[in-house]
């Protein structure tokens, strides 16, 4: 099993304990998770994520096979195509982008170019719906949650698009999924880190209505407890609970990993 939604590095708006790769490996061992896709958390708030990508690759180099780098590419930055090529050459399994933190609207042409370029390279583009609950956000954290319109626009950009959207809840997932054609829906995956379990059973609902193949395991570590997605799977109704992880496989999202 892969945890497709983890980071290393500090968060600018509150203290996060031990956001380090060696701690993440211990957490994976404890939770019985094989490996993780790892982004560099501070880069989400930098104007230019390039330096953070260097930090990310260096920090993960000692954990090859367990921790896979997911660097960030900002597509309105000069020479971003070269930056993308370089991170792919260095083994990136996916690419992260933060349109909300960069102030992009839902139809920003640079995001379409990035998602198409990632698609042509066979890697998914990873989007973050939110880092924190809206109710606790720092006053300087002015980015709104990722809107459905942005995800729909990117999913429609081309047939080779592969999107992984993290930290989305049921309402956003449904608004996007049922707002796409069947072909477009097949380009979008969701992690389960922010979908509620019982008593409302929203995870069970989307697994029943949208299908398990569109969902992958993700936690949001180190911002959020690594124990939550497993607890959510274990509390599914009986008919959905077996096997433990009735989800899609993040390893199957990148076309070039096949």
């Amino acid at each position: 099993m892969i945890d497709a939604n983890t980071f290393i590095g500090a968060y600018p708006f509150r203290h996060v304990p031990h956001p380090d790769p060696d701690v993440l490996v211990r957490v994976l061992d404890r939770e019985g998770i094989d490996s993780a896709w790892v982004g560099h958390l501070p880069s989400a708030f930098h104007r230019d994520p390039g330096a953070g990508n260097e930090v990310l690759f260096a920090a993960l180099s000692a954990h090859a096979g367990r921790l896979a780098a997911v660097p960030a590419i900002r597509p309105d930055w000069p020479r971003w195509e070269r930056a993308l090529s370089e991170v792919l050459d260095r083994g990136a399994v996916a690419v992260r982008a933060y349109p909300q933190q960069w102030g992009f609207g839902s139809h920003h042409p640079a995001m379409s170019e990035l998602v198409l370029a990632c698609g042509e390279s066979g890697v998914p583009l990873v989007l973050t719906t939110r880092f924190e609950d809206l109710r606790q956000r720092h006053w300087m954290d002015s980015a709104s949650d990722l809107p459905a319109a942005t995800i729909r626009a990117l999913a429609r950009a081309g047939p080779r698009v592969r999107l992984l959207v993290t930290a989305a809840g049921r309402a956003l997932i449904e608004e996007v999924h049922w707002g796409l054609t069947p072909d477009e829906r097949a380009r979008v995956w969701w992690d389960i880190s922010w979908i509620w379990g019982p008593p409302e059973d929203e995870l069970a609902h989307v697994l029943r209505t949208i299908g398990h193949a569109r969902f992958v395991f993700g936690s949001g570590w180190p911002l959020r407890l690594a124990q939550t997605p497993r607890a959510n799977l274990e509390l599914l109704p009986d008919e959905l609970r077996s096997p433990l992880a009735p989800l899609g496989d993040a390893a199957q999202i990148p076309a070039r990993s096949a």
């Binding site: 609950d133 109710r135 606790q136 019982p198 911002l223 407890l225």
Partner: protein
């Protein structure tokens, strides 16, 4: 087929913050979440759900400002659920302190029918004098008060007259013999503000419930008040409750097995009326088993 072992282990476990729905709350599927709560509770290993119903959940009066009629209806529905499942469910009497006389009548009426605590939502700021007769009534019955809390209020939010930890502390200081349960540290806002506010107030207990599962939150809670003032709860996201219970075993500072028992059930046994929680041994506040046997 034998029942699988509870996910949270076989030690007693009290959920101090649960809710149920009812037929007059505007949702046709109201029975489904109620069944799901009991299904998940059995799988987690919850011994007793201590729960409330906030009127009609906004259907005929606002959730956090329920009318007297809706308060009574919600409490009756909650007590009916307890009556149908007396081995697993207990009731908070929900009241709106703006209707003081009615609130006091409800505490008395529900207490006679088997309620074990008082639920205050967000109808009036926690430090308002209107809450004093409510707290006095709770003290007479040895009821704890579960108070809905926004972790650090920096402005008003629609639909609620929110209170934060500092507001609750002012009430708790006026009523030192009442146990106050500060609701859902994971329920939104800045819990570190709460921890600083309540650290030295011995009659304020922190309920761990809420959808928030921030790493560091549990460590900070343990450091602020210690295991003797933490209570486990789920509110409306039971998976986050299970995750936090598991994560608590890795909190820094570490909690030993005895401290985990405090969080799981012993603190609840100390602050609710002795012998009123099914499957939970009655304890006095110093931790000794009380003379009253558990029902």
């Amino acid at each position: 087929m034998p029942e699988p072992a509870p996910l949270a282990g076989t030690e007693p476990l009290v959920d101090v913050h649960a809710h149920f729905l009812h037929a007059r709350g505007g949702r046709r599927d109201w029975e489904t979440p109620n069944r799901a709560r009991m299904r998940a509770g059995a799988r987690i290993g919850i011994t007793v759900h201590i729960a409330s119903i906030l009127g009609t959940w906004g259907h005929t009066s606002p959730t956090y400002f329920p009318s007297p009629a809706d308060v009574t209806l919600g409490n009756d529905e909650m007590l009916a659920i307890q009556d149908r499942d007396p081995e697993r469910v207990r009731t908070y009497a929900t009241v709106n302190p703006n209707d003081t006389a009615h609130a006091l009548e409800e505490i008395a009426r529900c207490g006679e029918r088997g309620a074990v605590g008082v639920k205050l939502a967000a109808s009036r700021r926690a430090d308002d004098p209107l809450l004093d007769p409510i707290a006095a009534a709770a003290e007479r019955r040895h009821f704890p008060i579960l108070h809905h809390i926004w972790q650090h209020r920096t402005r008003d939010w629609p639909g609620q007259e929110i209170s934060d930890g500092a507001d609750l502390v002012r009430l708790a200081l006026r009523h030192p013999r009442v146990s106050f349960i500060l609701a859902h540290i994971g329920g939104g806002g800045d819990y570190r503000h709460t921890f600083a506010a309540v650290a030295d107030i011995p009659n304020v207990y922190l309920d761990l419930s809420g959808s928030g599962v921030d790493r560091g939150m549990l460590d900070d809670a343990v450091r602020a008040v210690g295991a003797r003032r933490l209570l486990w709860g789920s509110d409306i996201t039971m998976e986050t409750g299970l995750a936090k219970l598991r994560a608590l075993e890795f909190a820094e500072p570490r909690l030993n097995a005895d401290a985990m028992r405090d969080v799981r059930w012993r603190n609840a046994a100390r602050i609710f009326p002795p012998g009123t929680l099914p499957g939970i041994p009655a304890l006095e506040r110093d931790g000794k088993v009380a003379a009253v046997s558990a029902r």
